[in-house]
Amino acid sequence: MASNGARPAVGFWRETAQLVGAVGRAMAITLRNLFRRPVTVRYPDVQRPYPDRFRGILALVYEKETGEEACIGCRLCEYICPPQVIKVEMLKSEKRNYAKTFTLELYSCEFCELCVQVCPTDAIIMLKSFDLATADRRDLLLDKDRLHALGRQFEPSWATGTRLRDMQAPPKPAKAEARGEVKEPAE
């Protein structure tokens, strides 16, 4: 067989033997794979298990004790968002502040989790689902009600602001117990 001259010339029979060997080896491997189980996950008939830290759709949550909205409208998430998809208006009140409007443009979101990281009250989280395909882009402009509804609809991911910040700079033991936080054991 013609080559570009960089290969050493071997005899005809040797080369034929090499060719037959190579053909046999390659075909044996494809034959072996014929009998292996396919790795396809038959989505959507079968759901793929999401890892704990999966960064899916964003949502707003309520506080566990009081049932009130957790968001205090501090706008830290708005400032840190790289593509600037979050827009918040604060509503001042006597005891605490709220978010008057909270819009998140999911179609431009990078899912980088920085907003989750900075939230001081763990109000914005990410969910273990990405299943939000629509035919209309306006459905992806999430307003506050939609974000709260999503928070109830899907399972939340492990990451909240407090947990992420604790992971990076573990708080002193006294503080952790006072907060009652249970940290995920790192290895």
Binding site: N4, G21, L76, I80, V118, E187
Partner: protein
């Protein structure tokens, strides 16, 4: 294309005066991205090539000026989107160099694990797409592609368990890393790399002594040692041409000096040599991952507190350049800081950008079919080239 000029035409003395100008790309199944090559063909032989880039320019360097040191690592992955961790590492290393920030040992080891896992994933994709280009999307190439993608999926699943995402990891952060490893990840990673190690044997059996593969790659696209050093290629291209240069050895960063691994060097300089270099790198990366997991020290994963606000990281005035050994070569990030929360100027040294410069020297004289083999062995990623 009446107004394009080919810079350099190699006269082959073909005698025929039928010169065909053919466009390969930017929409082409094997241009590895959006890349346009204007080929001058005489029959089946390429006599001149003009490379046109810039189709994927997304103003990363300007983005670097408008985003702070806290925000940018999340999207640094978009430059080399196949080996995403290395771009982030280059950026944060540059920041840490200017600000003289210490990175704790545990974070350094975690960075090494992430970088080497990413190198394995990147080489899986390289092998798959190269065989796909050479073997046809409906042929043996697709078979190898699907096998390697199957393995790449496993590595990406591990990285997904670590960070939550498959591309825009945001794993690196100034001062350390952002995530620590979850429970059970250690065992899963060991299982994954063990599995991949066995599968590499299968790929080698399918390709190594396969006469068809060898006939396509040996003697094709030879980069001589002088040419490699003159043009400034890096990574597997320069190691395939006989120069023993690896940034991990030349300028160890992130505690690479603690690990014991072999840097493969081949002298032939053709596509087959570069293939051998990358296959050895596969196994060496697995070795490094195992060593890093064995010796993972306890401790904090960041020397700075967790990110609480967007302008948290202030870097004093100065400039710095950090380079890492990416899967494609030397990836460098040059930062000029003026004391604020955002860089004054950021410049990426993309490995693929310099690697592509070698094309007009090595492609002329080969057949059209060799062009795809050469492109695959150069392995460009256009996020790095065009930024």
């Amino acid at each position: 294309m009446p107004d394009t000029q080919i810079q350099q035409i190699v006269e082959l003395g073909y005698g025929g005066n039928e010169r065909l100008m053919m466009n390969m790309g930017p929409q082409h199944p094997s241009s590895h991205g959006v890349f346009r090559m204007i080929l001058a063909l005489e029959g089946e032989t390429v006599v001149g090539v003009d490379a046109v880039i810039g189709y994927l320019h997304r103003c990363h360097e300007k983005l670097g000026e408008t985003l702070t040191y806290v925000q940018y690592p999340s999207i640094a992955s978009k430059t080399d989107y196949v080996a995403a961790m290395t771009s982030e590492l280059a950026y944060v290393s540059a920041v840490e160099r200017i600000a003289k920030i210490e990175v704790p040992r545990r974070a350094q080891y975690l960075r090494v694990i992430a970088a080497e896992l990413q190198r394995i994933a990147s080489h899986c994709l390289w092998l798959g797409t190269w065989c796909l280009d050479m073997g046809g999307a409906l042929g043996g190439g697709a078979t190898v592609f699907l096998y390697t993608i199957r393995e790449r999926e496993m590595v990406l699943d591990r990285l997904e368990e670590l960070t939550g995402a498959r591309l825009l990891y945001g794993f690196h952060q100034v001062g350390g890393t952002r995530y620590d490893i979850p429970a059970g990840w250690d065992a899963k990673v060991r299982e994954t790399v063990g599995f991949i190690e066995r599968r590499i044997d299968e790929y080698e059996a399918m390709l190594e002594r396969n006469t068809f593969f060898v006939a396509r790659t040996q003697g094709v696209g030879v980069i001589s040692r002088e040419l490699a050093q003159a043009v400034g290629v890096s990574g597997p291209l320069i190691r395939g041409s006989g120069v023993n240069y690896d940034v991990r050895r030349a300028e160890p960063y992130s505690s690479y000096a603690d690990f014991d691994f072999v840097v493969p060097v081949e002298t032939a300089g053709d596509c087959y040599a570069r293939y051998r270099v990358r296959m050895v790198e596969f196994r060496q990366s697995i070795r490094i991952v195992r060593q890093a997991l064995d010796g993972l020290p306890a401790g904090p994963i960041s020397s700075r507190p967790g990110v609480k606000s967007v302008g948290q990281v202030r870097v004093p005035k100065g400039e710095g350049y950090a380079r890492v050994e990416g899967a494609r070569g030397e990836v460098g990030c040059y930062l000029v800081s003026d004391g604020g929360p955002k860089p004054y100027r950021m410049k990426w040294r993309g490995a693929s950008f310099s690697n592509l410069a070698v094309l007009p020297h090595i492609v002329p004289g080969h057949k059209v079919a060799d062009v795809v083999a050469i492109m695959g062995s150069v392995d460009p990623v256009f996020g790095e080239v065009d930024r």
